[in-house]
Symmetry: C2
Subunit: 323 residues, 2 copies
C-alpha cells in the first residue's frame, strides 16, 4: 500500500471521526509535513477532508474515483486480485485478452472509467460514458472443458445481480443468456469470452458492464432494448468503489462454489433469479423463430424450451421475449 | 505473381521439357537479360535448372523449399488463401493467434520450416526439426457456436489423412481426438484452438503437424507415444510443397462440405478412417479410467463409449487405447 492508501485506510477506520496528524504520522512512520502533503494530494483527487487544529483530520466524503487499492484492500477471499483501473480504453475485454495471452494470472482485473468501443454480445455496442458506471473484465483460468465455459456467464450474472441487490435493494432479475433487468429494462450485461483448445480452456474473461449512476440523457437513442440504471430506478447515487468491492466478493464466493460443487450450484441460483421459468416465450433465432415454455438451463448454458408438441428444444443462441 | 513465380509456373507447365528464353521473355514481358537474372536467382534458391543454347531452359528439380506462391498457385477452391512461409518460429498457432486477434481474414496460413516451441494437445511438446516436416496453422472464421468448434478438429484430421494417403498411399488411420497413426505410430497431430464468446466463435485455428521426411534420429527419446514419418514408413521422400498443396485442397473441400451439409458429413468420413469403431478400449481420464466399446462420435466431438452395463458414456477428454 502507498502512503496515500494507508491514510485513506486510517480515515475509513475512523468512520468520519477525527484522527490527529500526530497519530497518522506515527502509524505511517512519516513526518507531519509529509502527512499534510498527502492530505493535500487527496483533496486534489476530490476527497473532502476537514482539518481542525486541535483534533486533526477527518474524511467527510470521498469522490467516486475507481482506485485499485481502495477497491481491493481488505477483500478476503480465495482469489488473489490484481486490479488495474484505467481512465479510458477501447474495451476492457480487449485489453485483458491481450494480457491473458501474455500469461497474466487468474484474478487479473481491468476496470475502466470509460470505454470508447464498449461491446455487448454479438458485436453490439455497449454505451460506456465516463464517471458513472462500472465496466470491468475479470480473468479466470479454471480447469474446465470449452463446452463448460458458458457456465461462467451465468456465474457472473448471478454475482452482478447479488451485488446490485445488496447495494440498491432493486428487484434485479436475470435475462437469458447474459443480461440483468429491473422492471424489464436492462441494467447490466455480461460479455464473456474464452480462449481454448479442443480439450481444455486456456482462460475465460468475464466482461461485466453495470449501469449505476447513468442519467436518462446518457443513454443512446437507438437502443435495441429499453435500458435503465440504479440512479434512474432508485433515485440514489451508488458508490462505484463499494459496488465493485461487492461484485468481486460475490464473484469470488460463487467461483469457489462452482469449483467445489460444479455448475448445478450456480444454475439453481441463476434459475432463482429468473422470471421466465414456466413462462411462455418467443425466441428469435437467426433465421427463424420458436415458441415454447422455459423449463430451465442445460449443463452447457443452453435454455431448455418445451414446444407445443412436448419436445424439448435446446436454445444455444437467440433473443428471448416473454409473450 | 512475381516474375520468379511466373517463370516457375512456366517451367512446371513444360513438365521438364525445354522452354526458350525468347518464349519466357514474351510471356512475362521482360527482357532476355531479366529472364537470365531470374533463372540465376532460382538456382541460388536451390532449383536445378538446365540451360542449353539452342533449346532454352528446363527445370530438372526444385528444392524442397516452402514458398508461399509455389504452394498456392493454381489452387482452385472457395477459400482465398493467404500464406506466409517462415523459416523459424516458436509456434505457428501462437503467431497466427496474434494475427487473428488483429483481424486477419479466413484463409490466412502460417507455415514454418522449424518450430522452437512446437506444442501438441494439453501443452505437450511437438518435435519440430527444420527442413523435413510440415508445421502449419490455418485461420477459419465459421459462423458457429463455441460448442461446435471441436468439430473442426475432426475436419482437419480427415483432410490431413486424405493428403497423406494421396501422396504416400500409407494406411493412415485417425486416433481420437486429434492424431493420425500409421501402424499404431503417430504420424500427424492437430492442435486446434478457438477464441469465442458465449454465443459465437470469433475464429478457429487449425494447427497441423505432419511428420514427412523425419529420420529416426530426429525423434526425441522421451516420446509419450511411438511416432513415425512417411520416410520411415515408405522409404520415400515427400515433397513438402506437394503435400501442403494437397492438404490445403482437402481442407478447402471438406470445409465447404461442412458449411453446406454440417458436421455429419465430416463425422462419417472421420469414422470411416477410424479403427476403433466397435472395438473395446480403455480411456485414461484424469483422474480415473474407463473401459467400453466405441460406438461413434457425438455432435460436439465427444467419443461415445458403451460400458459393460450398456450405458453410453461421452468422453470429452482423455487418452484412448484399444485393449
Amino acid at each position: 500500500m502507498t502512503s496515500r492508501d494507508q491514510i485513506l485506510s486510517l480515515f475509513r477506520q475512523q468512520s468520519g471521526a477525527f484522527i490527529s496528524g500526530q497519530k497518522i504520522s506515527q502509524e505511517l512512520n512519516i513526518s507531519r509535513a509529509a502527512v499534510w502533503k498527502q492530505v493535500e494530494q487527496l483533496r486534489q483527487l476530490g476527497f473532502d477532508i476537514e482539518a481542525r487544529r486541535s483534533q486533526g483530520y477527518r474524511l467527510l466524503q470521498g469522490p467516486d474515483l475507481l482506485l485499485a487499492d481502495e477497491i481491493t484492500t481488505g477483500l478476503t477471499g480465495a482469489i488473489d486480485w490484481s486490479l488495474d483501473c484505467v481512465a479510458d480504453t477501447g474495451s476492457t475485454n480487449q485489453d485483458l485478452r491481450q494480457r491473458a495471452e501474455k500469461g497474466a494470472p487468474e484474478g487479473t482485473v481491468i476496470v475502466a472509467d470509460r470505454q470508447s468501443a464498449g461491446r455487448g454480445r454479438l458485436g453490439r455496442r455497449w454505451a460506456s460514458p465516463a464517471g458513472v458506471n462500472l465496466y470491468c473484465s475479470i480473468l479466470l483460468r479454471p480447469h474446465i472443458l470449452p463446452s463448460q465455459a458458458p457456465q461462467l456467464t451465468f456465474l457472473s450474472a448471478v454475482a452482478a445481480a447479488r451485488a446490485l441487490i445488496e447495494i440498491s435493494q432493486l428487484p434485479v432479475r436475470v435475462k437469458w443468456p447474459n443480461d440483468l433487468l429491473v422492471g424489464g429494462r436492462k441494467i447490466a450485461g455480461m460479455l464473456n469470452e474464452m480462449s481454448a483448445e479442443t480439450e481444455q480452456v486456456h482462460f475465460v474473461l468475464l466482461g461485466i458492464g453495470v449501469n449505476l449512476n447513468m442519467t436518462a440523457e446518457q443513454f443512446p437513442e437507438d437502443l435495441r432494448y429499453p435500458a435503465t440504471s440504479v440512479l434512474l430506478e432508485s433515485g440514489r447515487t451508488i458508490s462505484r468503489t463499494a459496488f465493485t468491492r461487492s461484485l468481486l466478493t460475490h464473484i469470488d464466493r460463487l467461483y469457489q462454489l462452482y469449483l467445489d460443487e460444479g455448475f448445478w450450484a450456480i444454475r439453481r441460483r441463476w434459475e432463482g433469479l429468473s422470471d421466465l421459468l414456466d413462462r411462455t416465450v418467443r425466441v428469435d433465432l437467426n433465421p427463424g423463430c420458436l415458441q415454447g415454455t422455459v423449463v430451465g438451463l442445460d449443463d452447457d448454458g443452453a435454455l431448455r424450451l418445451q414446444t407445443a408438441d412436448g419436445t424439448i428444444e435446446r436454445i444455444l443462441a437467440g433473443d428471448v421475449t416473454p409473450i
